[in-house]
């Protein structure tokens, strides 16, 4: 079975489980591909997405044209057919944080479009020179592209980027609100991106850029020995040029020097002069198991991670949640940490205020991200939900069930601890859970201060309101009662309550009584 064939038969795994989810999965794959392409060349992303309804094929499933264009790197013309027309295993021997859920780019989407409509995909791309346009299909059984048409065009305007247009079956109406959530949440974590979406009804949705700053690109790093598995170890062995195991360990893994390599190989019972190519399968298993328990490696290198950063995340949240100066927002980016040999960073944000209560139902709204991808489904199964609803005692932070609250959590890692193949929620790895908890708690401590301040201010306001309500009445009726002409001036008293002049307190200590006659 070819990889294409495998995905053809198991498309649910990639999220194409029903017509509405298929639309969502397709947008997600294509959009994230585009974002990666833009960031790779440090271009501020400008992405245009359009979904057009073609015809209804069967009840609940229509045919749509999906078109996405970006201003990313573009693809070298000779690579276009393979990039989009072949499901292949990359030969990655280094690690860095990446968006792509499955590392398949848009191929799975193209595959899905093809099997539901039997229409070709059109890919137009340029790296700055000529523009190449391919119309093609995928030969599923043989896992290779079938080029139907290839056109080369002049590129006078020096356009750079990629346009993908394909047809697919789906059900837009049932995924509409989730898709809009997804785009909004994507705009939050990519505040430097400019997104435009035109829906099948022709409605335009704009997610405008809020900043021109982009976070630094993650660096590629060698794998950490704690996190290696047998298969990856075997692949490293098969490609290595090193002649001894000691050199092999030092070359292919991070943080291993002479001494650590010697100690480790000794612990594994493998000679440091042994040839990597002559390792037996059981030797590899031994090495991997020993590596997992060996405690003298350095901590995993977090430079392969790309957190959004407090400043950018704040920009994104402010613009997409329309926060004003009155609203509260606190963003926290934690220091790098590790679980099972994988580095990870947790970022969290907490927002409250009247702007929040206008757009969300009362109570807590959770926005989750893994490696900058919004997670929209199965919220209550994941570790973030658990932390927010079980680990954190919100009343400590003066948050109650009716407090309008948005909690944003982003976990970035070279390996997100997804719980299932659906990749919609994270497992409760203790280290990850602890970091999420700490991040939210840190943000919530500022929240508590904000809430008590606003409660005090509101209380002061209510106090003043009460005086403003009753003092005029007292003035009015005491005037009538005493047959006076003009109302006494209550302004000094109102000023006193708003500033609490101490000498007013002094004055009231003097005592007088009303003496009724002794009739």
């Amino acid at each position: 079975m070819s990889p294409s064939d495998f995905f053809y038969r198991n498309r649910e795994i990639a999220g194409f489980s029903n017509p509405s989810r298929a639309i969502y999965a397709a947008v997600r794959e294509l959009l994230e591909n585009s974002l990666d392409a833009c960031e790779a060349q440090k271009a501020l992303p400008e992405i245009y997405l359009r979904i057009t309804e073609v015809s209804a094929s069967e009840p609940g499933a229509n045919v749509y044209i999906m078109r996405i264009s970006d201003n990313g790197t573009g693809l070298p013309p000779e690579e276009i057919p393979n990039c989009f027309g072949k499901v292949f295993y990359g030969s990655k021997y280094t690690l860095k944080q990446a968006r792509g859920t499955f590392g398949l780019g848009g191929t799975i989407t193209i595959l899905y479009g093809q099997i539901t409509t039997h229409k070709p995909v059109t890919i137009t791309s340029s790296t700055g020179g000529e523009i190449h346009e391919y119309e093609m299909m995928i030969d599923i059984q043989n896992n290779r592209p079938l080029i139907l048409r290839h056109r080369v065009m002049e590129n006078k305007k020096k356009w750079r980027g990629t346009v993908v247009e394909l047809q697919m079956e789906g059900d837009y109406s049932r995924i509409k609100s989730r898709l809009l959530d997804y785009l909004k949440e994507t705009a939050i974590v990519n505040p430097y991106a400019d997104l435009t979406f035109v829906d099948p009804a022709g409605r335009l949705y704009r997610y405008e850029r809020g900043t021109e700053k982009m976070p630094p690109l993650p660096k590629a790093v060698k794998p950490h020995p704690h996190g290696i598995d047998v298969e990856n170890f075997r692949r490293l062995v098969s490609v290595t040029k090193e002649k001894s195991m000691k050199a092999f360990m030092m070359e292919h893994f991070q943080g291993i020097g002479q001494k650590t390599a010697d100690n480790f190989l000794k612990a594994a019972g493998i000679s440091r002069r042994a040839k990597p190519k002559s390792l037996k399968p059981e030797d590899i298993v031994t090495l991997v198991r020993t590596a997992r328990q060996f405690s003298d490696f350095k901590r995993p290198d977090p430079s392969c991670l790309s957190p959004i950063g407090e400043e950018l995340l704040e920009t994104g949240i402010r613009k997409e949640l329309n926060l004003t100066e009155e609203d509260f927002l606190k963003v926290v980016t934690r220091k790098p940490s590790t679980y099972l040999g994988f580095p990870f960073i947790v970022e969290a944000a907490v927002a409250t205020g009247s702007s929040i209560s206008k757009q969300y139902k009362s109570g807590t709204t959770i926005i989750r991200y893994a490696n900058r991808i919004p997670l929209l489904f199965d919220e209550s199964s994941g570790v973030i939900w658990k932390v927010i609803n079980k680990n954190i005692n919100w009343s400590t932070y003066k948050v109650y069930s009716d407090t309008p609250l948005v909690v944003v959590v982003h976990v970035c890692s070279t390996k997100i601890p997804y719980k299932t193949v659906g990749k919609e929620y994270m497992a409760d790895q203790p280290e990850v859970e602890r970091e999420i908890t700490n991040a939210i708690r840190t943000a919530a401590r500022s929240l508590r201060i904000f809430i008590s301040r606003s409660q005090r201010a509101a209380k002061e306001r209510r106090r003043l309101d009460i005086f403003e309500k009753f003092l005029p009445k007292i003035a009015e009726f005491s005037t009538k009662l005493s047959d006076k002409e003009d109302y006494p001036d209550i302004e000094p008293l109102l000023r006193a309550v708003s500033t609490a002049i101490p000498d007013v307190e002094e004055k009231i200590k003097e005592v007088t009584t009303i003496v009724g006659d002794a009739a």
Partner: protein, 362 residues
């Protein structure tokens, strides 16, 4: 009492109006002086309500409290009190009367002053009584009346339009309702030599029918349960003005006992007021002893009744011998009897036998 009663009433009205105006002046000037207005008054909290054995009634102690517009919890009742004072002054100067219920409704439509219920407005009125040391009747504010009076008593009205007019209280065979007009009238003359106070309307009517006022030479007063202040005041006046002895006749249960006691010694609620109690008045039945002596039909005391009896037993107003004795008897027999219980011996038995015997014994 002077020869021209309505002149006295006029004077009293003037003084009331002046003290209301004085309250307005005080508050007005406090505001002018850039001070949050406030007034001192005697505290009405339970620990400041003391039983005075000499006066034989509850009085307010020496502790005072300040109702202060600077205090966020006081400003609303303070405002309501100023409004109520203004309302009272309007009543007094226009020589009108009103009821507690009407005061509550009159505040409706006064934005922000509105009372949340009649208990709140009643309470503010009591505050005003305490602050100015005057009963609400002086402000022209009366309770809903249900009590009545009957007998050979000539009164002279002081209410507008009736000044100087006289009336004999036997003129109306249902008895005369004790309203503002009767309350503010002057008592001119009577041939009666005693007052019979009855808790229940049915028994009051029976006594009128059986001409008890003539047979016992008595003025009859119907309290309709716990007697309103105006009725207590009338009872006191009859006692004070002509020295008429007062005999109180209630159901034979703790609630009836207490109706009698409030007439005699006043209530804790009205501890700020004088001239309401009649310490000389006597409770003549129905006693626990009567239940035994007359073999009256009875009902068993409920748990609620017994609890009330135990409370009365330790109440400072009930230290007198007869009270302690009768409370003990009620508790011992565990029974109670209503006034109507005498009907088992025929409708006139109470007038023919019981009352004469009772009145003779005291």
């Amino acid at each position: 009492m002077s020869e021209t009663p309505h002149k006295d009433a006029d004077k009293r009205r003037e003084i009331t109006e002046a003290s209301l105006k004085q309250l307005g002046n005080l508050i007005y000037e406090q505001i002018q002086n850039r001070e949050f207005p406030w007034i001192m008054m005697q505290s009405r909290s339970t620990d400041n309500i003391i039983y005075d054995p000499e006066l034989r009634q509850y009085i307010l102690g020496s502790r005072t409290t300040r109702r202060h517009a600077r205090n966020i919890r006081h400003i609303r009742p303070f405002t309501q009190m100023v409004w109520t004072a203004w309302f009272a002054r309007e009543l007094v100067s226009m020589r009108k009367t009103s009821t507690l219920r009407e005061v509550y409704y009159s505040a409706r439509g006064q934005q922000d002053i509105e009372f949340s219920g009649q208990p709140e407005s009643d309470n503010i009125i009591i505050d005003l009584e305490v602050a100015l040391n005057r009963p609400r009747e002086d402000f022209g504010i009366f309770p809903e009346e249900r009590s009545a009076i009957f007998g050979d008593l000539t009164i002279e009205y002081t209410v507008p339009g009736y000044e100087g007019r006289r009336m004999n209280l036997t003129d109306h065979p249902d008895g005369v309702m004790v309203g503002p007009a009767v309350t503010s009238s002057e008592f001119v003359e009577t041939s009666a030599d005693k007052v019979l106070v009855i808790e229940k309307g049915a028994m009051f009517n029976r006594l009128i029918e059986e001409k008890a006022h003539e047979r016992f030479n008595a003025i009859l007063v119907h309290t309709a349960g716990q007697s309103p202040r105006s009725t207590r005041k009338i009872i006191r006046r009859l006692n004070q003005q002509w020295g008429l002895p007062i005999y109180i006749f209630t159901d034979g249960d703790p609630w009836g006992i207490h109706i009698a006691m409030v007439i005699i010694s006043g209530s804790a609620n009205a501890a700020h007021l004088r001239d309401l109690a009649t310490p000389e008045a006597k409770w003549i039945g129905v006693w626990g002893t009567d239940i035994i002596d007359y073999k009256l039909p009875t009902e068993n005391l409920t748990e609620h009744d017994s609890k009330r009896l135990r409370e009365l037993k330790t109440d400072p107003r009930y230290t007198g011998e007869i009270w302690q004795r009768e409370i003990d008897i009620f508790m011992k027999i565990g029974k109670k009897a209503e006034l109507e219980a005498f009907s088992r011996y025929g409708l006139t038995y109470i007038v023919d036998e019981y009352l004469p015997a009772k009145l003779e014994s005291v």
